[in-house]
Symmetry: C2
Subunit: 569 residues, 2 copies
Amino acid sequence: MRTSKLLIATLKETPADAEIVSHQLMLRAGLIRRLASGLYTWLPLGLRVLRKAEAIVREEMNQAGAQEVLMPSVQPAELWQESQRWEKYGPELLRITDRHQRDFCYGPTHEEVITDLVRQEIRSYKQLPVNFYQIQTKFRDEIRPRFGLMRAREFLMKDAYSFHVDQACLQKTYDQMHAAYCAIFNRIGVDFRPVQADTGSIGGNASHEFHVLASSGEDAIAFSTGSDYAANVELATAIKSDAVRAEPSADLATVSTPGKHSIEAVSDFLQVPAKQCVKTLLVEGTEENPVVALVLRGDHELNAIKAEKHPLVASPLTFATPEQVHAACGAQIGSVGPVGLHIPVIVDHAAAQLADFVCGANMDDHHFTGVNWLRDLPLPDSADIRNVVAGDPSPDGQGTLEIARGIEVGHIFQLGENYSKKMNAVVLTETGQSKIMTMGCYGIGVSRIVAAAIEQHHDEQGIIWPQAIAPFEVVLIPVNAHKSQRVRDQAETLYQELVDAGVDVVIDDRGLRPGVAFADWELIGIPHQLVLGERGLDNGVIEYKQRATGEKQDIAIAELVTTLTGQLR
Amino acid sequence: MRTSKLLIATLKETPADAEIVSHQLMLRAGLIRRLASGLYTWLPLGLRVLRKAEAIVREEMNQAGAQEVLMPSVQPAELWQESQRWEKYGPELLRITDRHQRDFCYGPTHEEVITDLVRQEIRSYKQLPVNFYQIQTKFRDEIRPRFGLMRAREFLMKDAYSFHVDQACLQKTYDQMHAAYCAIFNRIGVDFRPVQADTGSIGGNASHEFHVLASSGEDAIAFSTGSDYAANVELATAIKSDAVRAEPSADLATVSTPGKHSIEAVSDFLQVPAKQCVKTLLVEGTEENPVVALVLRGDHELNAIKAEKHPLVASPLTFATPEQVHAACGAQIGSVGPVGLHIPVIVDHAAAQLADFVCGANMDDHHFTGVNWLRDLPLPDSADIRNVVAGDPSPDGQGTLEIARGIEVGHIFQLGENYSKKMNAVVLTETGQSKIMTMGCYGIGVSRIVAAAIEQHHDEQGIIWPQAIAPFEVVLIPVNAHKSQRVRDQAETLYQELVDAGVDVVIDDRGLRPGVAFADWELIGIPHQLVLGERGLDNGVIEYKQRATGEKQDIAIAELVTTLTGQLR
């Protein structure tokens, strides 16, 4: 490719409305342009990246035995009514009325359409399992589209749906998809983690998210330093320590803490570390016990998802009102503690390990110090109700946990019979019985991968593409070619040799000043850069620069193709 | 590929709602399934065809120097308001309101979006010409979607838009696109004609449609037997003959023709061929002459597009009311003729050549016979106001015209400044002046090509794919493999050898009865079929059958790969 036949639309200034690095760099490098809120045009350079990512996804899906289909993007409301999502989905579903006043939507996902197809085409258990996928434009009417392609309204997605006669068969395909996803993200060249995820309201059996690690990620994930264990922080287990609790060494005392209503304020005021304090949160419970207390170490955060799974706690988790708090403990929020309470107390495993701790005294502006379980108050069975923190032991017993930010680029999910039951998608079994199919679904945000790769791979100068998805693998920059026939001729010869050798190369024939051209290619982030000038020619060499490391070396022109193709493969 | 990992969803019965052959066969061969009116899912076999057509289009567009981009499918109303199409486009434009009550549409075409992009990114004449294309899902809310993919609502389109500093530059790209389109349709393997088309209401300078010839085509096209000339019948020129008109040989006579008001009835009644009669149609004219007469040979059809371009005729063409007719000639419609009329008479070239002809006598239920121009009535300058018919001389003077039905699969168009002027898309010229860009646009209905190829290539048994877009080039059918380990082993060996040789082959490992399997592959239309059975194995041969011709031959198994790859390339 020649830049004279390619729109290079780099920008010097960072667009004001681009908040995160990938969005800024995609605009600056001329990969995308904004059409309207959450709607982007892929320019030629950007589309090359997207297509390369798409091709890798397609190859690995085919390799894993999935079959590609293409479903309409516009879907009839009737199917969504059948699955009961037409009302539930909310305003993110872009609803459309056609000229005959019939209701449709622009599909954000295709469970209904594929289930409708499969219930018509698949009749026998012998035809199972099947796994259909498509790579298609989706629409989600985000209330506040932002971060460019990271949270766009229109985006490119790979979505796959598998159908099975039973859970064992689903598990097998699920495992294959897990492996295929690892292969995809490895080939693309991003540092990622498959993490256990919450199955949430869909109520399936198992779910993994695939996160590209990047400090700008919206999700916190916990992973072990000593094993493959990784989970969304929402889901990561904080295990109960085997350590023996320290013996009491201090006497229980009441101290005045005027105006100190937060852990931080109390800890500061009493000169006691936060982890030696407990916080006591009153939340709604069951009919029998309408209010219950949750007790956590002061430096730990409540995990609502874990707490609301506790049988004594109402779901969704709802904090008690100030009136309820006062009625239960005789004090205001900020002075509550577990001592002497007549409501159920649920203690986090870590808080249950404390000795000589500080807590609210259930008397306004007073706290207890030197509190000890069993001596000063009963110790109920402890539970896991907090977010894990860095340094916690890994729940699989191997290594400790670290916390990182991640960008979710993939999600695999065991749906079970969630859709197939509502839509009556059945097959005949070996014994001639009608059986509801078991389903899995598997998504990858293809356009999001591009943005995530940039979040993970960039520096001050611009993007540093993983080779597999770079717009071009190699850029050839002739320096001051307009002044030198020799440079022009040699550049053309080398360009042609590289093309003939199958190298994905672009030649910069724009004739810009060298500094401007170099800055463009650093910004665009081509992994391998070749600079050809008069001085090099005198010595029969071309300058090679690796974008990622900035390392330069001279390569003999005669050996360039061999050396470079060796480096690329 | 193995059929055991591929959804083969053939149907025995022709679905009732499928009117044309391609729609019937695409359903029966399991290429597509209907989701809702005008919305179809591409099944795995069908998608392979679509992707092959898409790949050919992409390669040839890249080859012709066009740059691929991808614009959003959802477009903001503001741009369409700027081009004044938001109101004009009518209900085929699928209008959408988002959650913030802003207006959008699902793009049926992208002139506005690309013009908006280009006016922002392209500033100088030095950056021109550019030609951007995309291959994308479009939506047109047809009032009556039908014929399957031929007139679907959601469809895959390649649309390209070029920008230029002047007409000469546009013409060059237009010619390149013309050549690229010929290359595309040739590679796909369809018999097609590029035909001159009406530029219609868009008012551009030049336009060609690309038609796949098929008897079911919606358009009539005229093409020369002796040259490349081809045009939509609406536009094909009927040239004025150089022949000398015959001398009068009959006297003018008035005959009674009671109740005979059509050419057919008069011709039958008087035993005179229709081509020896003329029909006289009164239509609205200009302010000066509110009614004018059009005179055509009885066997010719009026061409409204040509007639309304005549300076004396109102546009759009409007027939005179019975009252106007009676006022102008004193008779009812059906008895009108050009003799003695006091309104302007426009005579078609062919009608002007007649001698001794029949026409209405301007007296109810009477006709004249033996009418002759100049002797019985004045002969005004003749004009071309009829549709050409088979046998007419080609307007380029080479050969005669034939008429065929065509399916429009491509359209190229010189838009001129139509959009760029309204949207103020300008560049700076060499002299620093601001100049409105000149545009071209170039569309191909990718999904429509698939249907059109079937309309052109099928027989009683099913589809006969052109090799380039066949779902697979070769099918290998082991016969009764479940009964014969020898057949199974040999089939697997051959399959692997073909795969290794890069042949696009599918093996039928479904274990169906041979007749059922054969019928499936005839229906699906794989160009090259290999049948392996016990009997052939005894002789060391495999049966080869060409789908198109039905010809069979035995090929030595040892030479299969060599023979077949030779045949394929």
